[in-house]
Subunit: 402 residues, 2 copies
DNA sequence: CCAATTTGTAAATATCCCGAACAAATCACC
DNA sequence: GGTGATTTGTTCGGGATATTTACAAATTGG
């Protein structure tokens, strides 16, 4: 069933407690860790000695001022390992190299190769090498990576099941190919889920254990956190709210194919609605928003979109009881929408749920991928099982200061 | 932060592995446990000796037939402890006393006392005493209990926030009162959530790690499992699908108060719809179902209800990606509904989600409460933290046989 | 400069787990 | 019916880890 606890059964527990404490507060003395974990001082000293020997922590400073001997504080070394965050979009491929604090040391964007799965894998390898060289990081210190991709990712195998926009990616075993070409494990995850992780780590839902991230752009998707854990669903399709039966007839053939909600308020649906109201032909969604103040068709379009999105939020909230709902994506993050949604929510909920705009914008997936990769490194490095609790991520600098 | 691991840090790990193995297969030999856990034979023997000394396990039989010495098998003693499952409804109070296998040794139903919270607590105490006496179980062996109640339960404090139907229950600190009167901890949980746990343990979603249990009766509610864990939401209101914006105008004042979906397809809504279609005055929901084959108004009513419920299922599934959706409650469990829903789903989903009727009927909450209580006893007894994994419950007899 | 307090180390002890050797029980096969 | 192979379960010694107690070192306040 599980692998044999070879020798260090209890030690891993201790190491884990120490590391978790160091993640919570960036710099802590050994005595303080002993107090807060309940372990003895020697155990902490010994664990810390091992961690320092292996390069995971270093002395960080001293605490003076209070009575008694001054304490030496230790902190996790951000440069102990590096990870790769990859945001694989239909048009752009965005890769960043980051340290264990999540500090990005190098990043680059290229148009996604149009020559299919194998070419994309080769492109990723090339970009990775360039980033390592640019940041002067040796390949050994690269310890993991996470890639976000649109479409469905099978929770069991971790391989892409359906990948729109990138031909030949779902037929290829991308994970195996990446492991072979890059020499490290790359975990694949739905891009919206990663964006939710990003917002949870560095964005506007930092302290919320239950929240939803709704991305509205070309398509519509949602990432769900419940009690600190990502909700993936049986087939990895949780949060596919494109198929919510709102904003149209769920028995309509088009809704069946692309999703009723997405048909109504995806980019295509918005433009179509705008044209139906007499808007100028050839307009984009951006144009509609630009003419919001000056054109009746644009105003009505956005009003209707907001109203439908509000019912979607109502549906999501009644099922998940989120603490916060974050709106993101090129359309969803527009403040004009939030304004109208807040107003509508006030009229159909007794205690309207808190709505926030994405703090990370189009970098949410990338940052979530980095955070997720850091978490995986921590887990694999310190023997933390998957049930050992929510994400083990360093607090953002703002949180430490607070 | 956490309590000090006094002495048995590693031992608890071993104990937990052994107990989990015994939960999975009811009767196992020590050698087999050693193999499957990776622990050494001596460790298993020692752990087992302690468990037997404390009365948690006993020798159960022998394995013969294969070459080699025959093995003594051990099993958890079902009578090592007993738990109380309580289903507190607006009209009926249903209590059962069960052993650690979930075998009910005594149960009783009474009308819920109408004299408010304190009277209900007294009633529960009286019924508990009677059950203990009837089953000849000493009070010391009663180790815990779980109570299901309609309304919202705060996930943090475990106290009832909103309790419809039972006056004065939300103002009282029920949990403290029960602890004082009964001498044991009674955990309170939403009744539909417990019904979902019941179905997960003994019902139709036994092997599903992600599923939803939808109860349609006087009111409408849902219990959610994601990846083996119950989803409670930020305020314990997850699954309150009464407020789904389906089947009516979400901006309507009545929907705002009772929930749009519940207004449409709760008992009151069904009867109202039936009358609106020219049905006979004074009818109940039961009457409507009875006249389904012989009266046009009844047929149309049920058809429309099914259609709305189908869109609700579609909404739930698009958000949660459940493996199975279980229908329960006095109305939801009617096969006439499932028939129609299956048909409708086929026309609005490309891969219709699997729908099953509740296997436990109106006992689902009670059984879920028992299962949940057994899980809590296991956790508190064997030092299993809350993040140690999904429910630690004995397999149902049918599963063991299979 | 001394007392109080806190940090960190050292030594001794207890606990727990593992590996190997070994006794016991059982089956297969001659 | 006897013998060997196989599996079970125990005993014993060794190693790793954590805890307790004692103590040295450092720092603040008077």
């Amino acid at each position: 069933m599980q692998d044999a606890p070879s020798s260090p059964v209890a030690r891993q527990q201790s190491v884990r407690l120490v590391v978790e404490r160091l993640l919570r507060d960036r710099s802590v003395s050994r005595a303080e860790i002993a107090r807060s974990t309940g372990l003895s001082k020697q155990t902490i000293s010994e664990v810390m000695r091992d961690l320092e020997r292996d390069g995971w922590v270093h002395e960080d400073g001293q605490i003076q001022g209070s009575v008694g001997r001054s304490a030496v504080t230790y902190a996790l070394r951000p440069d102990a390992a590096f990870v790769l965050g990859i945001d694989l979009g239909g048009t752009k491929l965005h890769i960043a190299l980051a340290d264990l604090h999540g500090e990005i040391v190098a990043e680059s964007i290229e148009p996604t190769s149009g020559d299919g799965g194998a070419a994309v894998v080769a492109q990723i390898e090339r970009m990775k090498d360039a980033l390592l060289q640019h940041a002067s990081v040796s390949a050994q210190r690269l310890r993991g990576g996470v890639m976000g991709s649109p479409g469905m990712v099978d929770p069991a195998s971790g391989s892409i099941v359906i990948a729109p926009n990138i031909p030949g990616l779902d037929s290829l075993d991308v994970r195996a190919a990446l492991r072979e070409r890059l020499g490290i494990d790359i975990t694949i995850e739905n891009d919206v889920n990663l964006a939710a992780i990003g917002e949870h780590w560095r964005g506007n839902s930092r302290r919320a254990r239950s929240f939803a991230f709704i991305a509205v752009g070309t398509g519509i998707g949602m990432g769900i956190f419940s009690d600190g854990y990502l909700v993936r669903g049986a087939r990895g399709a949780a949060g596919e709210i494109a198929y919510l039966p709102l904003g149209g007839d769920p028995y309509d053939a088009r809704g069946l194919r692309f999703g009723t909600l997405e048909t109504a308020i995806g980019s295509a649906g918005i433009v179509e609605r705008y044209l139906g109201l007499g808007g100028s032909p050839g307009s984009t969604v951006r144009d509609v928003f630009d003419r919001l103040e000056i054109e009746e068709a644009a105003r009505i379009t956005i009003d209707e979109i907001s109203r439908i999105l509000t019912t979607a939020i109502l549906a999501v909230h009644s099922i998940l009881d989120s603490e916060i709902i974050i709106l993101g994506g090129s359309i969803g993050a527009r403040p004009e929408l939030k304004l109208r949604i807040d107003e509508h929510l006030g009229r159909c909920m007794r205690e309207p749920v808190r709505i926030e705009l994405s703090a990370l914008g189009n970098r949410a997936t990338l940052i979530g991928a980095i955070g997720s990769a850091i978490d995986l490194v921590h887990r694999s490095q310190f023997g933390i099982g998957r049930d050992a609790g929510p994400l083990a991520l360093p607090a953002a600098a703002a949180d430490v200061a607070a």
